[in-house]
């Protein structure tokens, strides 16, 4: 069924893996963490499959990382797999954020924590930037991918076009370029 699937994980392994991804992502950078674990560590997906799913998950409704968990979980174990991955991704972080939220409403601010989170955010942004560099080294081979990449970054990052405007322009060009030649 799939190229990079080494061995099929169990429901527990899916839940634990996504829990691990989720808890590691304090400060943000969840996409980078998913890639680190799903592609690099577990080799559950190839780089290209993961990246293409990431963009599909941004197009579809729902939180991007929840959607990624659904795709990964369902790939191996169908609906129970998707459920296990989403449960792992959200359960403990939801408990944790409730504790933080309760503390916030109790004391109305979280001073020491805010400083730490600011640092963590600076680090997490670094993970995201470095994910772009690492995947770029592998995927941006040739002039066309470079142009597609640069236009997407420029429109979305610099001009701040909304996702759909950007993809309406770049996705058809990307598909046209990547469409398999008749055998």
């Amino acid at each position: 069924m799939s190229d990079a699937a080494k061995s099929r994980p169990s429901l527990t392994e899916l839940a634990f893996t996504f829990n691990h991804i989720s808890l590691a992502s304090f400060g943000g950078g969840l996409s980078a963490w998913s890639r680190e674990v799903v592609v690099v560590e577990k080799k559950w997906m190839s780089e290209e499959e993961f990246l293409s799913i990431l963009t599909m998950c941004r197009i579809l409704p729902g939180a991007n990382q929840v959607n990624v968990a659904i795709f990964v979980g369902a790939k191996f174990l169908g609906l129970p797999g998707a459920g296990a991955a989403v449960f792992g991704l959200t359960f403990l972080p939801a408990v944790l954020i409730l504790l933080l939220g309760a503390a916030y409403f109790q004391y109305s601010h979280l001073p020491a924590l805010q400083d730490a989170l600011k640092g963590a955010a600076a680090g997490a942004i670094a993970l995201t930037l470095s994910m772009a560099f690492k995947t770029g080294r592998k995927c941006l081979l040739g002039a066309v991918p470079w142009i597609l990449f640069a236009v997407t970054f420029f429109l979305n990052g610099i001009l701040r076009w909304p996702l759909f405007g950007v993809l309406a322009l770049t996705a058809p060009l990307a598909l046209l370029w990547a469409w398999p030649k008749a055998k």
Binding site: G29, L51, I70, L89, Q114, G123, L167
Partner: protein, 177 residues
């Protein structure tokens, strides 16, 4: 008690509809969440909403857990659970169906075109989100320096990312940012 019951219904309706409207990711419906939670239902004030947003961005896990906090403020723990499920399930079911189509189409030309063609777009979007995040947070030159050093470390070495983010958090906690 009566208010809680009414709030639960509002929570359910609000987040299950936002779930399907959150095309492009959870962040796209945050203005609408703000409008309803602060202006329509008065569950909290604008400052509280902004603070909860900051907590949900920085806390581990998907940032959509902002809805857990809003649900909690609106109707306690039950509200928190309900908001989370309402936000995840409708879109989740749709995404699950799409993922089934995806895995069944392993040999289709469309799938291989998406896999090959979307990769460069994704790299562009990921770089854009890192760029936008670093510009939006109150990122001064010290935070930029830290981000730059961490990026270099993470790109060129095999340092465990948890050490990088943990170290950055420590630097923040010590008040150096």
């Amino acid at each position: 008690m009566k208010d809680d019951g009414l709030n639960l219904i509002h929570v359910l309706i609000l987040f299950s509809s936002l779930s399907l409207l959150s095309i492009g990711g959870g962040n796209t419906v945050i203005p609408e969440m703000h409008r309803k939670a602060v202006e329509s239902y008065s569950w909290m004030n604008g400052k509280q909403f902004a603070d909860l947003f900051a907590i949900s961005q920085a806390a581990p896990g998907p940032s959509i857990l902002l809805v857990t906090l809003i649900g909690y403020k609106a109707a306690g723990i039950t509200g928190a659970v309900l908001a989370t499920l309402a936000m995840i399930l409708p879109a989740g079911i749709l995404v699950y169906l799409v993922s089934r189509l995806w895995s069944r189409s392993a040999d289709s030309p469309l799938r291989s075109a998406i896999e090959r063609g979307f990769a460069p777009l994704t790299v562009g979007l990921v770089l854009a989100s890192g760029w936008v995040m670093s510009k939006s947070a109150d990122h001064d030159w010290r935070a930029w320096l830290l981000t730059g050093a961490c990026t270099l470390l993470c790109t060129t070495t095999k340092t465990n990312p948890i050490l990088i983010v943990g170290g950055a958090a420590l630097i923040g906690w010590l008040g150096w940012l």
